[in-house]
Amino acid sequence: MTFLQLCEPGQTPSPHEEENVPQEEGLAVGIDLGTTHSLIAFSVQGRPVIFEDNKKRAFLPSVMSIDEYGNKKVGFEALDVLSQHPNSVIRSSKRLMGKSLKDIQISNMNKMHHVDEDNPSGMVGLKVNNQRITPVEVGMNIIQSLKMRVEKALGASVVKAVVTVPAYFDDAARQATQQAAELANIKVLRLINEPTAAALAYGLDQGLEGLYAVYDFGGGTFDVSLLQLEKEVFRVLSTGGDAELGGDDIDQVIADCWLKEKAIKATKQLYQQLLFLAKKAKEHLSEHEIFKEGLKIEGKEISVSLTLEKLQHLVCPIIEQTLACCEATLKDKNKSVTDLKGVILVGGSTKMPYVQEKVAAYFQKKPLCDIDPEKVVAYGAALQAEALSKGAHHLLLDVIPLSLGLETMGGLVEKIIDRNTPIPVTKRQEFTTYKDGQSGMRLHVVQGEREKVKDCRSLASFSLKGIPNQEAGHARIEVTFQVDADGLLTVRAQERVTGINQEVQVKATYGLDEEDMTRLVLEGFEHAQEDMNHRLLVEEQVEAKRILQALDKALEKDGYLLQAAEEKVIRSKKEICEKRILSTDRTALQEAMKKLEEVTENFSAKRMNQAIQQSLRGQKI
């Protein structure tokens, strides 16, 4: 006979401490690696729990400090250093994931971060107290710190995780996030999009069904996703975003406003202090009408203040932009706000009452925030980690956020996979050679919505060599784009005749930054007509060049068939064409090419005739 085990009152162990902890294989957790703070959660039988540190704090600030001796601190300890030594602290490093130094300089982010300017190649590096560190390593340290919490509490090791990324993260940033987790000795079961994770949490917890929008306004990114939720099927229809617009940006507008008010010049240290106060003001004004606080600058005491009204005035344009994104995402699927059953709020910035008001007004319904908007992503990630490691009935279907394509002649983009295509996806397209005897081909993979390569972002570039000697247009190069369930791209190219294979997994050497993504989509709409005209012009030019090359060859070979006067006319018309190719007037080029065609008609006939004669001669024995 066994005794029933009874615990001291109030000390009943949580279910996960006793049962269901798979000791041998280790734990599978959900990790929300955020711009301002990160969370780790674990789910047992569909009940996710967020792990707190020993002081009962759930949120780990995504902050890391390094002192002059190279000692590293993560989270609250690093945050404590901030006020004394702001130059030793790295914040918001998620915004640097997968980006190059050039990207950071263009978007002026090097003011915000301790960027290592001496190292221009590959992903951007950081330099703190003369110690070099990459954003991936910062991510790794944060993940390790989260992992320790769980391992201390449960005494089991964390080996697998579902890690969340903003829906608008590009390939390079996704790769970087995966790398950060792997460096922390965690196998990434799946990268899932933050708004999708949130929808999953609502769908499983509250049994939501119907068409929902997820409005995810976080510390550094804004995502909006449109999802069809059904029993056990969570399906993303379209996704959009605007990453210029995180909570960080709200802090910046407030800080900038104070700088202007007080007419003071910002040092890096002062600016960090102001940002810290701005964040405090923003949170304070969620419950109060006015914020006032003093700070010391070079020994002088000054005070800064902000009213609720002023805050709303500053924030309004930012919210309007997020709503414009929502509009575009709905329109992509021919939907309007009246088709929606509800809107789900995600991310710290949606805690501002003013944001909630504006969202409610736009969507014409009270937004859902029953599950804490700052925790819902971590819950979703934990639920999916449990589902993936133990098997579950539900199905999570997502899409790619931005079109993928290849550069073709004349700097144009041939789109291979359109944005909002469900993943996994495989698409093939055939390309051919442009010149006789061309033996190699450079494949340049780009991401974006615009028609011209220079307006899209470069992801990778590789060469296919050893194409057999053939006439222009005869080789058949098949290019395959494959995007897997993590949203990661693999590109393969094959010459169909010889079977030469080249494969490239697009690597995080040079990423697409999020601001650019937004810009690319928006500009794609604005410039559609301009792009179309440019495309027509370039196509005309490419075609004209091809005809002129063929004519040159014909003249060289069969020029003797022509009388001197005839040849002179052809050459003069040809010269006109050559000049017009260089101009941007498509109609003029078309006319010139037409005239050239007229004067060469006789020449073509003669050549044809000759060819027939020759082939007939050849048949005589």
């Binding site: 799946r190 490691s389 098997g391 199905l395 999570l396 469900p422 996806v425 495989t426 369930a485």
Partner: protein
């Protein structure tokens, strides 16, 4: 619109060997019946076979949705997280094929073109006749100039739907030539309509 189901010509069963246990697997099967390993999808498998359909002139929306989810839940990579690398790759390939098939059948024009290609193997993509092309060009010009585009857009949607249903009727009668002619017209209306954000799904 007709929902006539065609008799599928059944070929003699053919087999391939399972990559894992070398047991026999029928060509279009997802799983090996001996070891249950997910097979690689056969290249050039028809979109109908991918979704486990017989060859249908018209795939109904509910039927498509049901098959899409049913098939995808069998092979989605999320179900193979702990499987071998081979099976993971096969899961990605199968899921991509299912997504592709869904994309084709979810578009009434593409769906009918696909059906015609199977029914009339000599199918050549055609341009609409000159008279039709002229009508389409006139519409495009009118649309580009009109201040209020809505009435014209409605006209365009009607023209598109008419061509599409004529193509379906012709297909149903076995008159493939005519089907090809009308589907080409529907395709062109569709392309112009897309440029002006026409909602073809509206009633």
């Amino acid at each position: 619109m007709s929902k006539k189901e065609e008799n599928v010509f059944k070929e003699k069963p053919q087999f391939q060997t399972c990559y894992l246990c070398s047991g026999p697997v029928s060509l279009e099967a997802m799983f090996c019946c001996c070891c249950n390993a997910l097979q690689k999808p056969k290249p050039n498998m028809s979109h109908y076979a991918i979704l486990d359909f017989s060859i249908l002139l018209y795939v109904e929306e509910s039927q498509l949705e049901e098959a899409y989810i049913r098939r995808l839940s069998l092979v989605h990579p999320d179900k193979f997280v702990n499987a071998s690398e081979d099976e993971k790759l096969n899961a990605t390939l199968w899921s991509a094929s299912i997504n592709k098939a869904y994309e084709v059948f979810n578009n009434p024009v593409e769906s009918l073109i696909y059906w015609l290609k199977i029914k009339a193997p000599s199918f050549n993509p055609q341009k609409p006749s000159i008279t039709v092309l002229e009508k389409i060009m006139e519409m495009e010009e009118a649309l580009s100039e009109a201040e209020d585009k809505e009435p014209l857009k409605n006209q365009l949607i009607v023209a598109y739907k008419k061509a599409l249903s004529l193509a379906n009727i012709a297909g149903n009668k076995g008159n493939y030539e005519e089907g090809i002619k009308f589907i080409a017209e529907a395709e062109y209306w569709g392309k112009v309509g897309k440029r002006y954000d026409c909602n073809f799904e509206s009633e």
